[in-house]
């Protein structure tokens, strides 16, 4: 479930990046790569789980699924927070810089 949620987040971020063409000022590409990186890693984890559990891997208990969904959504939120932090620190549109210098004046 965590893999599924992360893949959906990666696809959504990629579609937003594709739609924005050359406008990299929001650094959506970074968010895409982060989510895809995590998705690939969880995919390997899922393969390891399948090798260990066999077909039972695809029929998790309802409680585990709910916990994994909660985890998946938390992971997506954590990724968004990291992306926001990078965006504000790098400040490609100069908005943070402008706000700080405005307050100084």
């Amino acid at each position: 479930m965590t893999l599924l949620v992360t893949v959906f987040a990666a696809v959504a971020a990629t579609l937003i990046w594709y739609n924005k063409e050359n406008d990299n000022r929001m650094m959506v590409g970074t968010l895409c790569l982060m989510y895809w990186g995590a998705s690939i890693m969880w995919f390997v984890d899922a393969i390891a789980g399948y090798i260990e559990d066999g077909a039972a891997f695809f029929t998790p208990a309802a409680e585990d699924m709910l916990n994994d969904l909660y985890l998946g959504l938390s992971v997506v939120a954590f990724g968004l927070v990291i992306w926001l932090a990078i965006l504000l620190i790098k400040d490609p549109r100069g908005i943070v810089r402008k706000a700080i210098t405005k307050n100084m004046n």
């Binding site: 965590t2 992360t6 590409g29 970074t30 790569l33 982060m34 989510y35 895809w36 990186g37 995590a38 998705s39 690939i40 890693m41 969880w42 995919f43 390997v44 984890d45 393969i47 390891a48 985890l71 938390s74 992971v75 954590f78 990724g79 990291i82």
Partner: protein
């Protein structure tokens, strides 16, 4: 257990490599072209973002499951004397993660090279026609 440490370690190496390659690229002369060239340091940046981002999100999952703790030795597997199992998992799943991310990045690099070549040949044809 601690599989995310393998791609995180690779990320450290590729980040250092990106900085070295970038400083070398700055020193070399650039050939002017209408088609923007994607520098290798930029391509390494894609790999870095995948590795760092993936490792960070996986580390979060490990904290969630109580496999990473804020006190020494930071990993419950080491605390419980399961170091051998942890290393075995790092060698299988961890290395698998790092290898698959790198292979997919390799595919991205090849694809970007093909796209750049096609753009150049299309530009050359356009230039001949006009």
């Amino acid at each position: 257990m601690a599989c995310f440490l393998v791609p995180a370690s690779e990320a450290v190496i590729t980040t250092v490599a990106e900085h070295i390659v970038r400083s070398r690229e700055k020193n070399t002369e650039e050939v002017k072209s209408d088609v923007p060239k994607v520098h290798f340091s930029e391509k390494l940046g894609w790999l870095n973002r995948m590795l760092w981002g993936g490792s960070a999100l996986l580390a979060f999952e490990h904290v969630w499951h109580g496999e990473v703790i804020p006190t020494f030795p930071f990993l419950t597997a080491v605390q419980n004397g399961e170091t051998a199992d942890m290393l075995a998992e790092m060698l299988t799943a961890g290395v698998g993660m790092a290898v698959l991310v790198t292979l997919i990045w390799g595919g991205m690099v090849i694809a970007s090279g093909v796209i750049t070549k096609r753009s150049k040949s299309t530009d050359a044809l356009g230039g001949e026609r006009s």
